[in-house]
Each structure stands twice: as structure tokens, then as C-alpha cells.
């Protein structure tokens, strides 16, 4: 099949006159009869570059204006006492020092965020894998099953929060009702500091499990059936086939999910805001919720920017570590 080669410069037909003067033809000081210096024409390569930049220019400007500039501003703000209203005063790294040494909520929210992240990653991916294995079965109506588990992913977090709030309600909530049937008094799910974070993690898992399910399902469907057939011929049990074939060949998807889930879980906000407002006490107060509180409830934009940069550093560090460990466990077949 013939393919075009846009990277090659088009050559003029043999014998044709070049459409522009060769470089240097318009010598310095040369003028037209009218005394106006001639415009130096762009070479075709430069013209192509310019055309390319003209096309991507608006996007580049958008990225600079709406991503790089805000990031730079927040970096500067993190070194000031900016409250969003009056002129910022430069404070050096004192926001960072305060954050690490004086802010009682920093370590509390960081710990909650880590617990939430680890809990939700492990449960979401494990359940997602189990559901993907189930959804990969050639059963009539399986698409309904897949859709049912994916629906919460695209459901508004506010709606999810309110529904689960009612499920968790002490006394007349569904869970307490079910536990009551077997003579068990349910805990105050969202009001008991020992249970609240777990309760929110369960909601996050319920809402998020459809995403890894779909990703892992695509991975499962990409595994060649011949591998399983060969394993069967060799007498491998279904458990062995799973451990020796399925899981290794799903590691690229698992790696992708681990990174993505870590980043999104570490930035959890919506479900906390809707269901608990960080309570009871600080039991479910996560890092981003605290950043929001500091910035928009207290007007400490400089301090909140410092918190944001610390979060960026943590997420960046962990993601880098995950990338470094990739070679040890990810198998690209």
C-alpha cells in the first residue's frame, strides 16, 4: 500500500523555476526599483513549521494560560500570606514549616487520606477483577450485568452520597434493618469515629468498582484463548490458569489502574463533602477537603497553595516509585 510521506520536502519538477529566491539572493542593502527592501520569503520548511504552530497555537496558549500560569501563581502564593483579597506578603517557606510542624490537622488528614486510598485501591481493584472475571463469561444478558456495575461510575456523587446516607441511617436505615433481622444492633455508621471512614470507603468502592471492571475486562478479552487451551492440554487447573496466565497478562492493566486509582483516591473530595463533611470529629477529614476548607472557608489561599504543593509532591513521589517498580512485576507479554 502506498503511503504519503509528509515529512519529505516536495521537490520542484525538473526544469521548473524555483518559486522563491535562493537564500542570500536578496543581498543586504539591495532594493527594489521603488526603493523598498524586498520581503524575505519563508522557506517551505519554515512555512510548514509556522502553519503547524498557528494551528496548535490556541491550544498551547490555553495550556499556558489555564495550566502553567495557575500552577506558577499557586507556587508563588504558597510562599505568601495571600488571602485572596489583600496584597500578598512574602513569607518564604514559613507556610510549609507551619504545615509540617504546627498544623494539627495536617497529619490527621494525611493519615485519613492514606487509609482511604489504600482501602479503596485494594478493594476496588480486587472487586473489579472479580467482576471482570464474572463479566467475561459467555452468558446471555451479561451486558446488563456489566452496565449495572458501571452505572455508579457515571452517577453524580451527590446522588450517591444521599442514597448511601439513607442506607446508613441508624434505626431506620436499610443496613440497620437487615442487621436487626438477625438481632444485631448496627453501629452509627457515619457518626461513629471508628466506622465512618470505612463506611465512606465502601461507598467509594461501590461507586468506583465499575471502572476497573471495564479496564480489566478489556484486558481479559485480549488474552489469546490458545494460551488457555495449551494450559488445559497440559492439565493445568482453573486456579493455576488464573495465577499463571490471567494475572500476569493483566499486569499492564493493573499497573495502569493502580496509578490512576492512587491519584484519584488521594484527591477524594466529593463523597466526603456530601456524606460527612469530614466528621465525626476529624475521622473522615481528608487532605483535599482540608485544602478546600483552608482556602475557601478561611480565605488562607497562600497556606492552601502550600498544602496543594505538598500533595503534588506526595502524589508525584509515589507515582515515580510506582513507575520505578513497574519492571519488577508488570509483564507486557
Amino acid at each position: 500500500m502506498k503511503t504519503s510521506q509528509p515529512h519529505l520536502r516536495p521537490r520542484p519538477p525538473t526544469g521548473s523555476t524555483p518559486t522563491s529566491d535562493p537564500p542570500g539572493a536578496a543581498s543586504r542593502g539591495a532594493t527594489t526599483p521603488e526603493g523598498v527592501p524586498p520581503r524575505r520569503a519563508l522557506s517551505p520548511a519554515a512555512r510548514r513549521h509556522l502553519t503547524g504552530w498557528l494551528f496548535i497555537g490556541p491550544v498551547v496558549l490555553g495550556v499556558i494560560a489555564f495550566q502553567f500560569v495557575p500552577v506558577a501563581v499557586s507556587g508563588f502564593a504558597s510562599l505568601t500570606d495571600w488571602n485572596g483579597m489583600t496584597s500578598p506578603h512574602f513569607k518564604g517557606v514559613s507556610n510549609y514549616v507551619t504545615l509540617f510542624t504546627e498544623d494539627p490537622l495536617f497529619y490527621v488528614t494525611l493519615k485519613n487520606t492514606l487509609v482511604f486510598t489504600l482501602g479503596s485501591i485494594v478493594l476496588t481493584i480486587a472487586l473489579g477483577l472479580a467482576l471482570a472475571l464474572l463479566a467475561n463469561q459467555p452468558i446471555r444478558g451479561i451486558s446488563i450485568f456489566r452496565a449495572a456495575f458501571f452505572t455508579p461510575v457515571v452517577t453524580n456523587v451527590v446522588a450517591v452520597g444521599f442514597v448511601w446516607f439513607w442506607l446508613y441511617r441508624p434505626g431506620d436505615g436499610l443496613f440497620d434493618g437487615l442487621l436487626g433481622l438477625v438481632g444485631v444492633d448496627g453501629p452509627a455508621w457515619l457518626a461513629d469515629a471508628h466506622w465512618a471512614l470505612l463506611a465512606v470507603i465502601l461507598v467509594a468502592v461501590w461507586q468506583g468498582v465499575g471502572y476497573p471492571m471495564v479496564i480489566l475486562l478489556s484486558g481479559l478479552q485480549a488474552i489469546p484463548p490458545s494460551l488457555y487451551e495449551a494450559a488445559r492440554v497440559d492439565g493445568a487447573s482453573s486456579w493455576t490458569r488464573f495465577w499463571r496466565i490471567t494475572l500476569p497478562l493483566l499486569t499492564p492493566q493493573l499497573f495502569f489502574l493502580t496509578i490512576m486509582q492512587f491519584i484519584t483516591s488521594f484527591q477524594v473530595f466529593g463523597i466526603i463533602y456530601v456524606m460527612t463533611h469530614g466528621g465525626p470529629g476529624d475521622a473522615t477529614s481528608v487532605y483535599i477537603y482540608q485544602v478546600y476548607q483552608v482556602a475557601f472557608s478561611q480565605g488562607k489561599f497562600g497556606y492552601a497553595s502550600a498544602m496543594g504543593w505538598v500533595l503534588f509532591a506526595i502524589v508525584g513521589l509515589v507515582t515515580w516509585a510506582q513507575m520505578r517498580l513497574e519492571k519488577r512485576w508488570v509483564f507486557y507479554g
Binding site: 498557528l54 488571602n83 485572596g84 483579597m85 489583600t86 507551619t98 504545615l99 504546627e102 498544623d103 494539627p104 490537622l105 446516607f165 441511617r169 441508624p170 434505626g171 452509627a188 457515619l190 457518626a191 461513629d192 469515629a193 456530601v274 456524606m275 460527612t276 463533611h277 469530614g278 466528621g279 465525626p280 470529629g281 476529624d282 477529614s285 476548607q293 483552608v294 475557601f296 472557608s297 478561611q298 480565605g299 488562607k300 489561599f301 497556606y303
Partner: protein
């Protein structure tokens, strides 16, 4: 299908690019245009305006002055956050409703117009207003950075029918704590509680109780010291007051458990418990009255003073309007503010029956209209028995530290003494602006 290599007939790439550039230019120009002309002012409030007395007052104002008022509706939830955001944006509305707790902070940041020249120019006299309401927006530097058009005292809303059915004497109808001290209140709550059907009281979800239970227990400062730099809720009187509130639930079992309340107040869930007859007494600012008037169908309700102990005061929430300095139409905005606080506009607002007008003349028109509550005169008297939370620019930070911790007291996990003494150092540092 191969991609077309040329533009559609009659439309060259140059034409497309030129059109795009022209469109961008037009959009930029449109973006630079203001949403409202100079003859219009913008107003931000956390309550629904159309169809309410405020909406009616604005309609009359527009007809009389020719100044158009564009109302920017905002849901109650997180209004303070929304306000802070628009104030930080550099393009705030011309006139804003403001939580009275934050007037001091915005004033300290130089965000609000000093209304003193306007007040002098239009002949406003402090004698025409309740002193507390008049003095509230005056800052330490003498600037009058807001206008308080009325107050909403915190009172006890109670189910009259439930009292009668339980054989409990009705609370006082004047501002007195005779037979209405904490012990009397508790005794009434016990008799009103019907296990599984009705709780006697709901009080601790109303944050004004933090102040009233401290002040009424003998510490005049309330949550913070007068200069707003010390956390006095951790004083012995404060600790005892907070513990008394928690004991209503965990010791006496007459208050709705904390676990059954919603963290998000936007649904009115907690207030609906009173509407449904599931709670016999609730402590609320009087601003909730229209909600009760509209929704209570099955019983008669009335209002009573906050129970006393060593003293008897209440929190009087101020209804405060201010003009942001960065607003564009100070003069027109002042015209509206003047209209709402004095004369015809204030009279229209008074029909809401959900606050006490700050102006004596208008307040005299606050009379019962034959519907609950029967004892509206309690409200005017409440202002004379009101206290206000001492504030400083750092109380927001302080609240985020101690309020979540109080939940473990409300849950019965820890004692008030344990929580408040352990958190005091952190709160004091926050009040000092340390973090």
C-alpha cells in the same frame, strides 16, 4: 473513508481561519462587556428572593428609582464560601448579604465600603435603631462597614399540643427564666419524650447553643474572649454548659442522637423533625419561622425564651447587608440599602415575620397575625437580652479545629472537659494567627 484534502467548495481554509479569528475577537469583546449596564446593580443573598417580601421590596424599589436590581441567587449551603470567592474575584456584587460573623474579617481586610458618610448624608440617627443592631457593624477604627436591618434572636420553638398532652406547663411567654431554668427545661423535656415516637428536645445542632450555654452558665465571654484571642469555651462554665447539652442525649435520653442528624443542612432534615412532631422543642434562630409556618400542619407551635441558669441571654443573629468596595455602583447600592432599612422597603420586609426590624418604628409593626407564633413580642424583648459571639479575623480557623472535636462529645465518646481542654492550645494558636 479518506479525509478530504481540500476545504468544501466555496470555503477556503483561509476563510475558515479568518472566521475563527473574527469569532474569537467577538467573543473576547463580549466577555469584556459587563453583564449589566451602569443603571443596574447586582445583589447577592442566600435566600430565595422572587416571591418573597424582599422580592416585593426590590420590585417597588425598581419602580420608584428606575434602578434595575439583578439578583444573583445562591443556595444557602456554603454561601459564605461563595461570598468569599466572589469577593476575592475582584468583581463582587454591588450589595451582599453577609453572615454577621464575618463582618469584622472583611472589614479588617478593607473589603467593605464605609457607610458612615452615606448615613450622615441621609440623616440616619442611631436613636431610631436598637442600639445593638446599630453598633454591631461599627469597627474599632470607627468605620460603619455594614448595615444591620434586623435581628433574628435564637428562641425555643415548641409544640404546644405536645406540652398540653403531656401535662407539662407551657414555657414563659415573657423574657424570664422563672420556672424556666435548665432543670425545669430538662424536666419538661423528660415528660415530652415518648420513646420511639418523640424526642423532648433538639438543641446541640444549633451552634448558637455553644455561646448561650456558656454565657448563661456564668462566663460572659462565650466561646472567645472579648478580643477574640482566647478560647474561653474551655473555661469551667463553658465545659459545664457543653456537657449539659451532651447529657441531654447520653445521660437523660431526651435529645435526638447525633448519629441521626444530617451533616448537610441543605435538606432541612433536622428542622423537619420538629415539623413532623418527632421533636417537641428545638432551639433555632427565628429565621426558620417561615419554614415552620409553611410546613407545620398537625399542631400549634409557639416560641419561648432560651432557658436560663445563672443568667438568661440569647444569640441575636444580625441581618447584615454590606457594599463591597470593589462593587461598581456604590451610590445606587446605597439607595437600595437605605430603602430596605428605613421606611417603605423595611415595612415590606417586616411582613416576612421572620426577624425583628432594627428600626424601632418598623419593629412596632411586628404583631401577631393570628397565626403561630402567638408571642411575637418575645422577639423584641430578646434583643434586650442578647449577646453576640466575640469574633476576630481568625475565628474561622478556630472553628475548624474545635467544632469537629465537639462531635465526639455529642456522640458521647468523650467528655466536654476532655475535648475542650485538649484542644484549647491549638485553638488559641489559631486565634493568634499562628496557622
Amino acid at each position: 473513508m479518506p479525509l478530504p484534502t481540500t476545504a468544501a467548495p466555496g470555503v477556503s481554509r483561509r476563510t475558515v481561519l479568518r472566521s475563527a479569528a473574527a469569532g474569537l475577537g467577538l467573543a473576547a469583546t463580549a466577555g469584556c462587556m459587563t453583564a449589566s449596564g451602569s443603571d443596574a446593580i447586582t445583589l447577592l443573598d442566600w435566600e430565595t428572593v422572587p416571591g418573597t417580601p424582599l422580592g416585593d421590596a426590590i420590585e417597588v424599589f425598581q419602580k420608584k428609582t428606575g434602578i434595575r436590581v439583578d439578583v444573583q441567587p445562591t443556595p444557602t449551603s456554603d454561601y459564605d464560601t461563595k461570598l468569599r470567592t466572589v469577593m476575592s474575584s475582584g468583581a463582587p456584587p454591588d450589595i451582599v448579604r453577609m453572615n454577621d460573623d464575618y463582618v469584622r474579617g472583611y472589614s479588617a481586610n478593607g473589603q467593605l465600603v464605609d457607610l458612615a458618610p452615606f448615613l450622615r448624608q441621609d440623616g440616619f440617627r442611631s436613636a431610631d435603631y436598637f442600639e445593638r443592631a446599630w453598633r454591631f457593624p461599627i469597627q474599632p477604627n470607627g468605620e460603619h462597614t455594614a448595615l444591620c436591618v434586623g435581628t433574628q434572636p435564637c428562641v425555643i420553638f415548641y409544640n404546644v399540643d405536645a406540652f398540653r398532652a403531656a401535662g407539662v406547663p407551657l414555657p414563659p411567654t415573657t423574657w424570664t427564666d422563672e420556672n424556666w431554668k435548665w432543670d425545669d427545661f430538662l424536666a419538661a423535656a423528660k415528660k415530652l419524650t415518648v420513646p420511639g415516637k418523640r424526642w423532648g428536645v433538639l438543641m446541640y445542632d444549633d451552634t448558637s447553643a455553644e455561646t448561650t450555654c456558656t454565657v448563661n452558665n456564668g462566663d460572659p465571654t462565650g466561646i472567645y474572649s472579648a478580643d477574640g484571642r482566647e478560647f474561653t469555651l474551655a473555661s469551667p462554665a463553658g465545659i459545664e454548659g457543653i456537657q449539659w447539652l451532651a447529657d441531654l442525649t447520653h445521660k437523660h435520653h431526651v435529645q435526638v442522637p447525633w448519629s441521626q442528624l444530617q451533616p448537610d443542612s441543605t435538606t432541612n432534615f433536622d428542622d423537619s423533625l420538629f415539623v413532623q412532631g418527632k421533636v417537641a422543642m428545638v432551639s433555632r434562630a427565628y429565621g426558620i419561622a417561615p419554614y415552620f409556618s409553611q410546613n407545620v400542619k398537625d399542631f400549634t407551635w409557639d416560641i419561648a425564651p432560651i432557658p436560663g441558669n445563672k443568667g438568661q441571654t440569647t444569640i441575636a443573629t444580625m441581618i447584615v447587608w454590606a457594599l463591597p468596595k470593589q462593587g461598581r455602583n456604590h451610590h445606587q447600592a446605597w439607595q437600595l440599602l437605605k430603602f430596605l432599612s428605613d421606611g417603605e422597603g423595611a415595612e415590606i420586609l417586616a411582613r416576612q415575620h421572620n426577624y425583628v426590624p432594627a428600626n424601632h418604628e418598623v419593629a412596632r409593626q411586628l404583631r401577631s397575625n393570628g397565626k403561630p407564633p402567638a408571642h411575637l413580642d418575645l422577639l423584641s424583648a430578646a434583643i434586650e437580652h442578647a449577646t453576640n459571639e466575640n469574633v476576630s479575623p481568625n475565628v474561622d480557623r478556630a472553628r475548624t479545629i474545635y467544632r469537629p472535636q465537639l462531635e465526639s462529645v455529642w456522640n458521647g465518646e468523650k467528655s466536654a472537659a476532655e475535648v475542650l481542654t485538649s484542644v484549647k492550645g491549638q485553638v488559641d494558636r489559631a486565634l493568634a494567627g499562628k496557622f
